[in-house]
Amino acid sequence: MAFYNKIIKKSIWVFHVSASPCNNCDIEILDLITPGYDIERFGIKLVGSVRHADVLLVTGIVSHKIAPRIKQLYEQAPKPVFVVGIGTCTVGGATFKQSYNKAGASLDKIIPVNAFIPGCPPKPEAMIDGIVKLLGTLK
């Protein structure tokens, strides 16, 4: 495990899961990989398939329709996989707290979550900080 963690710290591959968000966190995630912030210099890269992912970035409240798909994606990801909830929606629902189409009170009722990054939307600096803190927990 220690060997694996040493490797994963150098190159984190993230997969972006949009679970009924308002698109804002998604756009800020794209902001991370473009010239403004450019997190590829830390070895963090956005990948197209969940089979290659080390970290899942989940945004949005999880609606009833998408909840089974999120579970399916989590099962498909190679373990160990880390899940980061981006935005206040994943923490407690934000303005959609009373929504009738919400599958769970927060994301960790659906799949296990390692870190939350609150904010509406969180600034790109906050996202980088969150992922770096997650890396710090790896021994």
Binding site: V17, S18, A19, S20, P21, C22, N23, N24, C25, D26, I27, E28, L30, D31, T34, P35, G36, V47, G48, S49, V50, G60, I61, S63, H64, K65, I66, R69, L73, A94, T95, F96, Q98, S99, Y100, N101, K102, C120, P121, K123
Partner: protein, 409 residues
């Protein structure tokens, strides 16, 4: 030639949002396309009925993160339409300024994604580099990069700081210069031109039949723009509407690039006016009388429509939202059929669809209050169980006799 079905989504590397497309192809040619929506439904209209009018503005802001000032703009227009509330002149300029800043970054976002879809990632990275200063300007003016929270009933929530004008002008000049460069590149670059020219044509007739609006309609030669036709704050500035005749993806790119330049001009008009126009930014509104009102606004993707009914209390009795992509997305049926599969994706993206805005549908419940879901396997198995119960053979047929015979032996 045999037909083949290609499922795309809901989690596909090229789709930002969860969407499902069912594309039927014959060899290379797309013959039919269907889509399934509803992954993003969050129930705004119902939540809005439990919030006050001011809280509703913050709620509708979160319908979509990209057009996050268009929905509040249309919402306050609808509330002000109930009582014919006038807003101060300075508030009008501030509203226009925020709306146009948002249009610039939304159109730049489309240019980025279009570049990404046709495999031209250089364009993606460049355009995103130009988009970043706009977000920083938004943060300077409103305090947040995306959700601005500027609109209030009767005006705006935050005054514009006149000392920011010298910081804004150079950014606008830069954007204008780079957009001229981008337009030149689109014209000269043989790859970009051949990938976009004549691809996914939406004729003027189809655009009218499918009720397309916004840049999608304007690229097909339909001359509509709410900013000019039904202005609520835009009467204080001159708006030039850009219309192109062909309706292909290239024209949609041209319309959007020219609209970015036009938005820069509108913002400059506002900045010039801020030095002269001083005064209040909000008219205090004590209560909303019973009645109904509609609000329209030209979002980056087309016309946003909000309807609000009030019963005299501090909450909306009914709040209806109709987003531009709702009528733009069905144009796929006209533009995608008959083109090669490789061009289908850029044609799907060319209307700048925003599914978060669109998905305002509601869930269906049956007579016992149970939710009706689209689980076909579940439904099919239930039907088999029901038939098994119903079709218990009443009388023994000839074939049952075989088993009796074998048992007796």
């Amino acid at each position: 030639m045999s037909k083949c079905r290609i499922p795309l989504g809901p989690f596909h590397p090229l789709l930002e949002e969860a969407e499902f497309f069912n594309i039927k192809v014959e060899g290379e040619k797309v013959v039919d396309i269907e889509m399934e929506t509803g992954w993003m439904h969050r129930g705004h209209e119902k939540i809005s009925e439990t919030k006050t009018f001011t809280q509703s503005i913050f709620l509708v802001e979160r319908i979509c993160g990209i057009c996050s000032t268009s929905h509040p703009f249309a919402c306050v227009n609808a509330i002000e339409d109930i009582d014919n509330i006038e807003i101060p002149e300075r508030a009008k300029y501030i509203r226009v300024l925020i709306g146009e800043l948002e249009r610039i970054h939304s159109h730049l976002l489309w240019v980025c994604l279009a570049g990404h879809f046709i495999g031209y990632d250089t364009l993606w990275m460049w355009a995103w580099k130009y988009r970043e200063p706009i977000l920083q300007l938004s943060e300077m003016i409103t305090g947040n990069r995306n959700h601005y929270a500027m609109m209030r009933v009767g005006g705006v929530g935050r005054d514009f700081d006149n000392s920011l004008i010298p910081k804004i002008i150079p950014v606008l000049d830069m954007i204008e210069k780079k957009m001229v460069m981008l337009a030149g590149a689109a014209n000269d670059d043989p790859v970009l031109r051949s990938r976009l020219k004549g691809v996914g044509v939406l004729t003027k007739e189809d655009a009218i039949n499918y009720c397309a609006n916004g840049p999608t309609a304007r690229a097909s030669g339909v001359d509509i723009d709410v900013r000019r036709d039904d202005p609520t704050a835009y009467e204080v500035v001159d708006v030039k509407v850009i219309v192109t005749p062909n309706g292909d993806v290239y024209d949609k790119l041209v319309v959007r690039v020219l609209e970015i330049i036009e938005s820069c001009h509108i913002i400059k008009q506002c900045l010039k006016a801020f030095e002269k126009v001083q005064g209040p930014i909000i008219n205090k509104v004590k209560e909303i009388s019973p009645g109904e009102g509609i609000g329209r606004y030209e979002a980056p993707r087309g016309e946003v429509f909000h309807y609000i009914r009030s019963d005299g209390s501090n909450r909306p009795l009914r709040h209806k939202v109709r987003a531009p992509s709702f009528s733009n997305i069905p144009t796929y049926k006209a533009s995608c059929v008959g083109i090669p599969l490789a061009d289908a994706l850029i044609t799907l993206a060319s209307v700048d669809p925003c599914y978060c805005c669109t998905e305002r549908s509601i869930k269906a419940f049956d007579i016992n209050g149970k939710k009706i879901e689209h689980n076909l396997l579940h439904l099919s198995r239930k039907k088999t169980e029901r038939l098994q119960r119903e079709l218990i053979p009443k009388e023994k047929s000839l074939i049952d006799g075989i088993f009796d015979l074998s048992l007796s032996r």
